[in-house]
Symmetry: D2
């Protein structure tokens, strides 16, 4: 599967005649859309992942400044969504941050409303700054505070609004490339109104589905889709859980203290295609190397430190976003003075379902 | 399957001779442990459930008094577990409250420790009074407050202790009859010490598994059994959720507002054999009749009202326990002045897995 | 949990007064259906299973003779089902062969039809003799040949008929005690006709669902319940599979060569409450001891040998039925001259779902 | 999401200045790998699938001729795999037949062996001609006959050989683009020998797992991976099943008679990423239109007819291969004189797991 290809062999002294005849054959076949596998096999079935995506870090400050400048130039109405795409340098022209995922920084200014729509794509929002704007899902608001995680899953109506007096910025994470790859995109706007009518007070879903309770089956208390009811994971909760875990045990050598966000309907990842997690490295802690097939996007929530990704080193500061491509070795280190807290999301949910997920952990 | 049996037919005028020959045949077969189905079929395959269990209510005050008197007579050490069994009047000698479940009121006095053991039986504890005693599961304490639900699932080590200065009483709910029925009981005591060594501070499991988070798979943060990690469902949480649900929508005509306790590992019932739920009836609300195949034990948490069970009526007061046998029609009513809040548990978890659960709801 | 009970302790010299006061207390509580757990705990939570069921073997010849004699005395119409119950000697009056299962030998004479009905109980039929009678499921006939397995699952219409010129006898295996235990029995007869109208030719379900195929979802080819479509497992197929397995590898030390019948809809046991399997011991092979919590009923299909069950020994001959209670050690031995082939069924399907199944295998 | 983009709006008379300032902003951002979503959103989230793949049909005769000519020019050893890729005309340079799948025609000449390897990619083989060559999986041969389906799932060792005296040709179907998309390709050759040592006689897996049986859990009879044990679906079986279905009922208006290949371990599709099915249209039958999000590759097994795909029409003859891209309407018609039998495979297995599958059926 690697080494000299037959074509190369044929091209050697003595093989010339065969080569020419092969080329003639290929030319005849081409109009029929038939091609020789043996010329390309080595690139089709790789012995290990060779992602085109590259490690990259987007510093928050300049991205934020560009976003605000764009906000001044173009209205939300014009833009529909005022978002800067974080495009992977290795995937130019694709709007993708990893092979299967999209990431962008979205701005919503005071008084703005982003119109209600729904689509096949699954999305998550991770709040970078601002406090009090909302995402509404099927007419129920999630009031967003810094570092909250909010989901807008596949085919659920959603709109956003900012009734505060300050701009709000969050990171969007979507499976746009995945849905594009499978040619399965559907989308529609809500007819007649920019926002979905409010169906219930904020917090209703959390009360029904988010506290290890669920509506009695078949009762009037059932209100949300059974398989994906929850959509708001507040920072206040996950941060406290991380603190408890960090207090009670040793960090994992390859991960630090790490908790995944879970779908209470089945205990699995938050959406069918996307898994999300948080981790905390104690001050001064450095992880051993780890590789995994799920290219991952990270946000620095707290602290400073360094990430070494496939041999390249990046300094980490709060609100920076960085991407670790599939199967690139990642080593993380928290600076000596403070804990390093990260949020990350990847396509691990999809890969596990498809039997594709693998990881490797550096031995001690 | 109902009506006159062949045996009765044979016993009629003219059938006498056959009857005698049949009886002779039966007598011959009996020593070989062979018996005629046609004599008993009508009792083996019933057209609808005919439970031996009866509706019954145990008032809290007298039960509590007996429990305290027993507590004065016999030490916890002598009793191992100081518990009054709530035995169904229709199931004498079985220690069962429904065909498949056991219920008892347990007392633990200040300074007492109930020794650590584990068993195949799944248990739940629902706190009736007292504040601050604990159940420890695999060495992690759940500090128990009134109307908290605490689980001690199948084969997990547990012990109890009361370091407060007041007696603590809770309701035990177990699947003892089920495990006995399947001849699958195993039990053992922890060797060497009455209590399991403390493994982690209280609240650790809630932080890791109880907030729509779970430890990153394969990481050091995994500490509890994956399929049944959570064991404490505080009253403060479930009561608030019920209040939210009651505020935001109309009650279900047959149930009131009803929430089930959920296992965050899979979204299903809290234990493999037992499901538990809470419900709230608005002041003055009366449910329509409902039957279900899962015999259910209820505790009155709050309010007063009435339960009509299979045509028999019971007045409900706080901390009373009552049982609704399988397929008996239940109608509930809250008194005009206040909400009625109930906790209930049943074998619905088992019945659904075995394809046996059915319910019927009275039409309007 | 074992040893001297507190009651016994109280009854010792010096404890007499307490004992009397306890007895007085018990007498007061009894009318309120409250009982002291500490007097009975040792019998409620056993350290290991102590089944009331006993090992037993029913020789085929005498049972067959009784069945034919009963057939001569009483019509199928009178009997509805002409069946001899194999009642476990340790469970008198229960019609049960193990704690959770029922077994019986059913006779259907030439020209007879057993009327169509359905019930909550799951049933299997294992053909002992005769060739060509049928069980029809929802109007599709399974033509029964010796040692075929035919299912009539929960709530599917079924009737039987014998249009051959010879009597047909099969073993019925049902979960009657389980459904009774859970108070979940429902049953009804098909109105208007003894037999369900024929809906499709025999073999249709096998063609659609039984060859690692299934109807395209949502297409007109879907005809049977998705979760339990298959109901006929012919002897010709399972026997050949056993032969192949026996040819290709060494027998399992504790089981011999063993294959389970599988539900093609999910790869699990054949019905929600009952699992069934076959096994083959090479000539002269003896298994090591094994215990399991699922009490099991076996039929000898082929060969001779011995079963040692909980220390009691039984000689095995073709068509004999024997029962191994829960947690009794089973050792099997094939006679030197021929293979021993067994069919077995148990409540393992239920026990695994409820988290109760355990087994133990004797070390070498 | 569709219609005029903000950029276009800005570019209109009067918007010119803003446009210029935006362009300047974009130029500044570009080096930081930040891009404006509002310029591309309409292409990222489509209102309905717009696959690049095109409908296409590959006639068997010319493809076969090219394959044999290539076989004469280049040895199997040189080629590793002598395969002509069926590349979708709309996906040039990708070696893909649909967005997510690969298809090729493979030739193996008498006496040849294709060396043993394994890879993350799931593969199926559908035999076009020849009789008696084999695919070996983990050392067990599947002897291949015309129109048999043989799987070589994810990470299972496989090799091929042709010990007959005639060439063998089959269609390969793999998820190469999917694995490439997720950057999750791993592959390795078996060290030391071209073929895996024979582990068991042909047919062993079919006997253990393919007849609604499975090895007793935890016994020596377990030999294959539990989640994907079966790998050979003979034509003789599926064709007969289709015949039975066709005899017993009316064809589905949109599909004809259609059966899916099922994984006996869970009743689901044959592999985690690929679903496969067969269908039969009675002579003269024409389906109504149907769209589905899973782009599908079909092989004509029997008969003649026509396929209308997204408005383009193709004449169908035996062994032709054609592709229906995602969401293109498909109408099929069998010629008047004979049944039309098709084999098809698609990524529906993946799409359903990811929550992406949809279909539409034309109303009558």
């Amino acid at each position: 599967m690697d080494g000299t290809t037959p074509a190369q062999a044929a091209a050697r002294p003595g093989g010339g005649d065969t080569r020419a005849r092969l080329e003639a054959l290929y030319a005849e076949m081409r109009p029929l859309h038939l091609f020789p596998l043996w010329e390309v096999l080595a690139n089709l079935v790789l012995p290990a992942p060779r992602p085109a995506a590259e490690p990259h870090l987007w510093s928050y400050a300049p991205a934020r400044e560009f976003l605000l400048r764009a906000g001044a130039l173009i209205s939300a109405e014009q833009a529909e969504r005022r978002v800067l795409i974080l495009e992977n340098p290795g995937l130019p022209g694709t709007s993708a941050v990893t092979s299967s995922l999209y990431a962008g920084l979205q701005l919503i200014l005071p008084g703005e409303v982003a119109p209600c729509h729904r689509h096949t794509q699954c999305a998550l929002r991770f709040v970078m700054e601002g406090d009090g704007a909302y995402t509404a899902l099927d007419g129920e608001k999630a009031v967003m505070r810094p570092f909250d995680l909010v989901l807008t899953p596949n085919w659920q109506w959603h709109d956003h609004g900012n009734a505060t007096d300050r701009p709000m910025i969050w990171l969007d994470g979507l499976d746009i490339p995945t849905v594009r790859f499978f040619d399965a995109s559907f989308a529609e706007r809500l007819a007649g109104a920019p926002a979905h009518p409010e169906t219930v007070a904020a917090g209703d879903t959390a009360a029904r589905y988010g506290r290890n309770l669920r509506p009695f089956r078949g009762s009037a208390a059932e209100r949300r889709p059974r398989d994906l009811p929850l959509f708001h994971y507040p920072y206040a909760e996950w941060r406290d859980s991380l603190a408890v875990v960090a207090r009670h045990g040793a960090p994992d050598p390859h991960l630090g203290h790490a908790l995944e966000f879970a779908n209470p309907a089945d205990g699995g990842p938050v959406m069918p295609t996307i898994a999300a997690h948080v981790r905390l490295l104690p001050a001064g802690f450095a992880t051993r190397g780890r590789r995994a097939t799920d290219g991952t996007v990270f946000v620095v929530v707290e602290g400073r430190g360094r990430a070494r990704i496939g041999g390249r080193e990046f300094a980490l500061a709060e609100r920076d976003t960085f991407v670790v491509p599939a199967w690139q070795e990642l080593e993380l280190e928290a600076e000596a003075a403070a804990e390093l807290v990260l949020f990350g999301f990847s396509d691990r949910a999809a890969q596990e379902k498809l039997g594709l997920f693998r990881e490797w952990r550096a031995p001690p």
